[in-house]
Symmetry: C2
């Protein structure tokens, strides 16, 4: 299957969600059976053991491994930036894309450290989506095309996909998506992003309020995505769905990447079952979004950079977990006495 | 300095604590100055930034790195195991030491994954310390000698030391140390360790109560260590102090390794300032011990294995943090606009 070859209308994407494969229960059973024989007390590696089961379930592989991991960073611009909702000017999106290409960004270093592939997907940097306080981000065809573009991240035989992003003002977009999908007030979802001051918070909150008011109660996930944007969130939505179809587990980075997962969750809660949430962002509303979706993030390191940095760290742990499961001796191999009767 | 060349009497160890070097404030300032120029919003890497400062402070190095990390695993046996306080028989300590040597344990895989050195220090496996419910673990000379032995872990030019342990029944020993040093009831500090049942918990709690009652209110940290043990905790106590003298930052693993840090903390709270607490163990009282010492662990993965496994994962993050700090481009190098005025 080459999911990106055809641009599906949004209704076909809704239909696709009904056909997503479930977890491979045989692979999970195989991992559990081996884990029970490894030279450690049962359960003593905690979430590291859960990571192996998760990887097996969604790679559909009883001997899961991470051989071709990819960090996909989706970069784009947003008209709402003109409202002064970010601490940085919009030009920084392109400058940071150039920094990724030159190897100078944090995500480059994280990928080197954990031997992860890195691809940056540029999405019309010079053509920001309209200001969401006033107009829809996409028409239906453009939204569907962007989702399809994101599906292309799942290619080349990758076996683990980390989703990250770069886009000045995109925490405003993400806050509007959460507000539209999960309710509450704009204030519940707006934070300081890259570091705006109190006046900026006010402008950002106003922008989210105007955008959500404009939706007039629309709760359909793909309509919310179409009307709020942005391109990186639509692309990550496509990537999440394509990965599920292709048996590629997904690691979601922070506040903005989680907004794409929120769109998929709103389509069908089970449709994000193959997604691991890498970390709890320092962007305060991230925790709230994770709670709504019942997700417990793997790490809590006060990160709020984006770029896929938290996902890259989580990918490192997933690989250690898989290699440990594969490489440890069993009690029988090591000639070790089992648990005593007491 | 070769700290292990001489066995210091316990009073000299008390005196040594008064002479420990402080953090290198110039190195911290250098790291902060560089961090402010890196192509990311200030503070956006959260605890990863703090790790770099911590490494600089205690390596006394303005360009900190992790080139020769070591996981030191101290293994020994405890007479109290005869009371049925562990889910595993005492023979397992030696069997696991053999498993470490053969490369079959979880810590072997973690060290391979993160390219960490691994040394296992055997401490008289065939001569368990006396049952602490009835007798002191050491006389003063033996306690001092074991502390000195642990100091030998800081050798060979290592630049980061991870402390781990293996010893059937040693969560009983650690619980007794916490109870003696930090107060409360035995029940506050006793947990399931490798997985004992309710009857085992009762036996374990009784053992801790008898041991602490025997101390008759003794609160001197080194006396508590001498009378409760065990050899691995005494050795890790020495390793923590020697590392501070030698400008080697220390990563403390879980419930048992933290008991060694508790001994050092009880000698002088500042004497553990160079220690990073790797993770919050699933052994429930670990969180309580960390709270008493005002420590926020880096990871929370439900680990309860010991062997230094949590410390090894933390070491991986520390290295990523250092390399990211060193390798990222500055705003000037990348030609990126700084924060806007708004």
């Amino acid at each position: 299957m080459t999911p990106a070859a055809t641009v599906l209308p949004l209704d076909d994407i809704r239909a696709l969600v009904e056909t997503l494969p479930g977890p491979d229960t045989d692979a999970i059973a195989a991992v559990r059976a081996r884990d029970a024989q490894l030279t450690k007390p049962p359960g003593s590696l905690g979430r590291m053991e859960e990571l192996v089961e998760w990887l097996a379930a969604w790679q559909a592989n009883p001997r899961p491994d991470v051989r071709r991991p990819l960090v996909a960073v989706f970069a784009t611009n947003h008209g709402v930036a003109e409202r002064g909702v970010s601490a940085f000017p919009q030009d920084v999106t392109r400058q940071m894309v150039e920094n990724f290409a030159a190897g100078g960004a944090a995500i480059n270093q994280f990928c080197i450290a954990h031997d992860l592939g890195l691809k940056v997907f540029e999405l019309a940097l010079d053509l920001p989506t309209p200001d969401i306080a006033e107009a829809d981000a996409f028409d239906e065809a453009a939204c569907a095309a962007t989702i399809a573009y994101g599906m292309e991240a799942v290619a080349g035989g990758i076996d683990l996909l980390c989703l990250g992003e770069m886009g000045i003002a995109n925490t405003t977009i993400a806050a509007a998506i959460y507000n539209a999908l999960f309710g509450g007030a704009p204030e519940d979802w707006v934070g300081r992003g890259t570091g705006i001051d109190d006046e900026g918070i006010k402008r950002k909150t106003d922008a989210v309020r105007l955008a959500v008011d404009r939706l007039d109660g629309e709760r359909d996930a793909l309509e919310v995505l179409r009307r709020i944007g942005g391109r990186e969130i639509a692309a990550m939505t496509g990537a999440i769905l394509a990965a599920r179809m292709e048996h590629v587990p997904v690691i979601i980075d922070g506040f903005v990447a989680t907004a794409a997962a929120a769109v998929v969750y709103a389509l069908a809660p089970d449709a994000i079952a193959h997604c691991l949430f890498a970390h709890r962002s320092a962007e305060t509303a991230h925790d709230k979004a994770l709670n709504v979706m019942g997700q417990k993030p793997l790490l809590d390191l006060g990160l709020r950079l984006g770029e896929g940095t938290g996902a890259a760290l989580a990918a490192g742990l997933v690989r250690v977990a898989a290699r440990t499961h594969a490489g440890m001796a069993t009690f029988a191999e090591a000639g070790i006495a089992g648990k005593s009767e007491s």
